[in-house]
């Protein structure tokens, strides 16, 4: 029953090697010009979208609450980080990471404040409250002077490099995975499965709903901070209802409650609109049709709730070995 510690150790080493190899490979392609600046921009966008999708998956996939205001949390992170790097006077290279952390914290605090009333409600009601929250943020950003009003913020230093987006993604991924596959993660899953039963087994359901919700908001804030310094400008309209839906689509497409699904779907759905540019004006139509087709044939999303793990690979290899003599 106990996993041998040497295997656990091997898995750790393998993980680190793979993470480093992907980083080096992508970084080399970017510096050597295999990727042009358009493509490398797309790579950064993919990693930002992966953080976003993962973060929403915590609240919607794992906890099972439909949140339609995720762009609002992203906006809070984006504006917090950008305002700090622009106004602090510190060198950008020092202020940027601090700003990202500040963005996460502020998003988390707002998430908590929204969560106190919202998490007492369920399903449709919670969806409506989060929807209203997202719209409110977008309107407030347009009204306030210090956020630049309707013009938004311009001249944000564009310091989100590939390395930044990649390592922020890895940190988010590791934190979310370790949390979700721990005892606490199991408690959150049990709330999604059946809240009364979860309470009957001794889970403090309100506390865990709050933890999942705040976590979700914090990582959305991180993605926002990266996004702000990737774009170089922020407009309040960007973070409206449509954007929240876009993120939700990525989560549903990948599979609610699947980390692997979120990653793959963020890659596909970021690339797809770009790859479909050949269809010019029919681009969004084709995109929508593809989504409908997927939902008809795989309503649980690409991965459902499954994960791609080493165990799956090992089993797959074993099966192939067994099949060989037969074929």
């Amino acid at each position: 029953m106990k996993k041998s510690s040497s295997r656990v150790f091997k898995t750790y080493v393998l993980n680190i090697v793979i993470i480093a190899a992907i980083f080096i490979a992508l970084q080399l392609m970017i510096t050597n010009g295999v990727f042009n600046s358009y493509t490398s921009g797309l790579v950064v966008q993919i990693f930002i979208n992966m953080i976003l999708t993962l973060s929403l998956n915590v609240a919607t996939g794992f906890l099972g609450e439909l949140c339609l205001g995720h762009a609002g949390f992203m906006a809070i992170g984006a504006y917090t980080t950008a305002l700090l790097t622009i106004n602090s006077g510190l060198p950008v290279m020092i202020m940027f990471p601090l700003g990202l952390i500040a963005g996460m914290i502020i998003s988390g605090i707002i998430g908590f404040l929204v969560g106190v009333p919202a998490l007492r409600l369920k399903g449709d009601y919670l969806a409506i409250i989060t929807l209203a929250f997202g719209e409110m943020i977008s309107i407030l950003l347009r009204t306030f002077k210090f956020t630049g009003g309707a013009l938004g913020l311009n001249g944000i230093p564009r310091v989100t490099s590939f390395a930044y987006s990649y390592w922020c993604f890895i940190i988010s991924l590791v934190l979310i995975i370790t949390f979700m596959f721990s005892r606490h993660g199991r408690a959150i899953l049990s709330i999604r499965e059946d809240e009364i039963a979860s309470e009957a087994t001794g889970v403090n359901t309100f506390k865990y709903k709050m933890i999942a919700f705040v976590m979700s908001a914090m990582f959305a804030g991180l993605a926002g901070g990266l996004f702000a310094h990737f774009q170089g400008n922020l407009a309040p309209e960007k973070f409206n209802y449509n954007y929240s839906i876009d993120i939700m689509v990525m989560v549903v497409f990948g599979g609610m409650g699947s980390v692997s699904g979120s990653i793959v779907s963020a890659i596909i759905l970021t690339l797809l609109p770009e790859l479909l540019r050949g269809f010019s004006e029919f681009r969004m139509l084709v995109y929508a049709i593809m989504l409908i087709v997927l939902m008809i044939f795989r309503p649980e999303g690409m991965f459902g709730r499954k994960e791609v793990t080493y165990r799956v690979f090992r089993r797959f290899l074993k099966r192939n070995k067994q099949n060989k003599p037969v074929s």
């Binding site: 199991r186 049990s190 499965e193 059946d194 039963a197 009957a200 087994t201 001794g202 403090n204 359901t205």
Partner: protein, 237 residues
């Protein structure tokens, strides 16, 4: 007394579901609350386990008032509920369901031991330990719900309609298990519509009607009581 409920009143909005109900459960007993639909049985259990709050009255468990405590704290003090309709986690495996039952415990070795114990008590669950719980049959799900509640090592087990939707043979099996659990030292509070069966395993019983206790006494006395027979046991009136 392990549990004493003293004139509790529970409302759903304006509906007065439980009226001034009092009863007691002593250590080691099997006590049953019987009554027809809408008598307030489930409401009482949910109030004890902290999912609902009474408007007035007290519930004492081991001498401590628990009526205002949240459900997860009540469970930690050794009172576990098998909810009506089983409510297992259908997308988790049988094993994961049992592990969730031990959620409040931290003694790893004890949990592993109890996991073994519940598999020896429910061999069917062991065969299916890596299956999703949703794929189990109704009887197996009920067993899993009981096994899950036992994983928290309760002193008092609250069972809500364990016979619901099961074939007569399986109902017998479930009630054999209930007796077995009681003999191992767990006190049981059983809520049932099947009065005859409930009274046959219980030491004492309380008969409820529209939110009130209308009769109480030893299980054997209630089993032969003419009025009970007429109302619940299908005897001649």
């Amino acid at each position: 007394m392990l549990l004493s409920v003293d004139s509790i009143n529970v409302y759903y909005g304006r509906i007065h579901a439980v009226r001034d109900i009092s009863f007691e459960v002593a250590k080691g007993e099997v006590v049953t609350l019987i009554g027809a639909n809408g008598a307030g049985k489930t409401t009482i259990l949910q109030t004890i386990s902290g999912i609902l709050q009474p408007k007035s009255g007290t519930i004492k468990y081991e001498g401590v008032e628990i009526q205002n405590k949240p459900a997860y704290k009540i469970l930690q003090s050794g009172l576990a509920q098998v909810p009506e309709g089983r409510r297992i986690f259908t997308n988790l495996t049988v094993r994961e369901n049992l592990e969730m039952g031990a959620y409040t415990r931290h003694d790893k070795e004890g949990i592993t031991e109890d996991l073994k114990k519940s598999f020896s008590r429910f061999p069917r669950l062991e065969e299916r330990r890596n299956q999703h719980a949703g794929t189990l049959s109704g009887g197996e799900q009920q067993m899993l719900a009981i096994a899950r509640a036992l994983m928290s090592k309760p002193k008092l087990l609250l069972l809500d309609e364990p016979s619901m939707g099961l074939s007569p043979l399986l109902v017998q099996e479930i009630f054999r298990i209930i007796r077995d659990v009681n003999e191992d030292g767990t006190t049981v509070l059983l809520v049932e519509q099947n009065a005859q069966l409930a009274l046959s395993v219980a030491d004492r019983g309380y008969v409820l009607e529209t939110g009130k206790v209308i009769m109480s006494g030893g299980a054997k006395t209630l089993l032969v009581d003419e009025r009970i027979k007429a109302a619940y046991l299908g005897g001649e009136a």
